[in-house]
């Protein structure tokens, strides 16, 4: 691959984010392609800082993804609780990836986008605030609820607040 790692990481991050919101490879690809074109057309200043452009790309990917009609998923069946408590890590490590992504997909917005962006670690927290239009306390609350929601869907005990 001849292009820079940072560019590759950006594209990979955008695709993963779109995929987590849509859970469809074809639509995730389309949304990312369209977002790249749209942001390029609207970015008039070539010297615009990259973090701002990256944030705008994630923002447009999210806007486009949220407009795509979703196919309803069946709720993730909570795992049987025999032998509880078992260390959460042990349970998750053995869990199918699709159950985890589906649990995240079922979280309400903006928590789903917030947690996905935090876990993908693709942009800074200040950028996540701008992408989602939330203040830091609102973002913290959304991420916290999303974490608790994923943990609950997967049958893991997690404290929702500290």
């Amino acid at each position: 691959m001849s292009y820079e790692t940072s560019e590759k990481e950006l594209y990979a991050g955008l695709y993963r984010f779109a995929w987590l919101l849509l859970m469809r490879e074809d639509m995730a690809k389309k949304v990312v392609m369209d977002a790249l074109e749209e942001v390029h057309q609207r970015t008039s200043h070539s010297h615009e800082e990259s973090e701002r452009i990256h944030a705008r790309l994630y923002q447009v990917v999210r806007q486009r993804a949220l407009r795509v009609p979703v196919t309803p998923f069946s709720p993730v069946p909570a795992p049987a609780r025999s032998g509880w408590p078992i260390h959460a890590g042990t349970r998750l490590a053995d869990m199918d990836s699709s159950a985890v992504t589906q649990a995240l997909h079922q979280v309400e917005e903006p928590g789903r986008s917030a947690l996905a962006l935090v876990l993908l670690d693709a942009v800074e927290v200040e950028s996540i605030e701008k992408i989602l239009g939330l203040s830091i306390p609102q973002l913290a609350d959304s991420v916290d609820r999303a974490r608790a929601s994923v943990a609950q869907a997967l049958g893991l005990d997690v404290e929702a607040s500290r």
Partner: protein, 260 residues
């Protein structure tokens, strides 16, 4: 940093940010380490995030990354120019005629254009706000003209709507940040509209003299949206809903007529 701020900041951090913390995160980690309860909760967060993070790291098709790279290259490709061609007199005559023709077309278009300085920023703001979820709003039952005090209490000073829209019922409100600028937003049941108020200067949005309206269509073919925007003093008032220019014109006209 106090414990509450530290906890708030750390909740927004992913596993990688916590592994190699910046200055603020380091200070927050230090503050949290003094409380055994919070430290334990953070350890739990790290465990869950690391494991969920690993599971959601879906593979990215290599050919797709290549396609994106090629698209990026194509979009950034400079227009090739040959100096020899530019010096050719025939080319110069054609170029001058072309420039004159383009100038004429631009002049005609501008006389009919409904654009304004900062239009792109206004559209981006509307697109960011329009996808807000119901859970992001505080529910209330009020009219648009009575919300000024509520927004002041939320730290937004200057909420105002044109008199013709003051009677509109509002069922939800929020303040959000767009590119470092606070934006006041209200949900209006009529036409399933959103009202936005924001300071015009920081975003460079200047829709024109007070009382005049600019109407812009945006969105996609499958989900067309339209905005009406007007200047009120140092602020912009913007209405958005799903539809086209004609519907916005009707909405503004009807509001003006029904205004007491």
């Amino acid at each position: 940093m106090n414990l509450k701020s530290a906890i708030t900041l750390l909740k927004c951090q992913g596993p990688i940010s916590l592994e190699s913390p910046d200055r603020a995160t380091s200070a927050a980690l230090k503050a949290v380490s003094k409380s055994s309860e919070s430290a334990a909760a953070l350890a739990h967060q790290k465990t869950i995030d690391a494991l969920v993070g690993a599971k959601i790291s879906v593979p990215v098709p290599e050919d797709f990354l290549t396609s994106l790279h090629e698209l990026g290259e194509k979009l950034n490709e400079p227009v090739a120019r040959s100096s020899a061609t530019v010096r050719n007199p025939a080319f110069l005559v054609v170029a001058l005629a072309f420039v004159a023709m383009v100038g004429l077309v631009v002049w005609i278009s501008l006389s009919q254009w409904d654009g304004f300085p900062g239009m792109d920023e206004a559209v981006l703001l509307a697109e960011a706000g329009d996808v807000s979820q119901p859970s992001q709003f505080e529910a209330l039952d009020a009219t648009a003209g009575s919300l000024s005090d509520w927004f002041v209490m939320q730290g937004f000073d200057g909420f105002q709507v044109p008199a013709a829209f003051a009677h509109q019922a509002v069922v939800g409100v929020r303040v959000f940040d767009f590119e470092g600028v606070s934006v006041a937003m209200a949900v209006v049941p009529e036409n399933r509209s959103f009202f936005y108020v924001f300071p015009s200067r920081p975003l460079g949005v200047a829709p024109g003299e007070s009382g005049s309206w600019r109407i812009i269509e945006y969105g996609s073919d499958s989900a067309p949206r339209v905005m009406g925007i007007s200047q009120i003093g140092d602020f912009c008032f913007m209405v958005t809903f799903e539809g086209h220019r004609a519907q916005m014109e009707r909405f503004i006209r009807a509001s003006n007529q029904s205004s007491p």
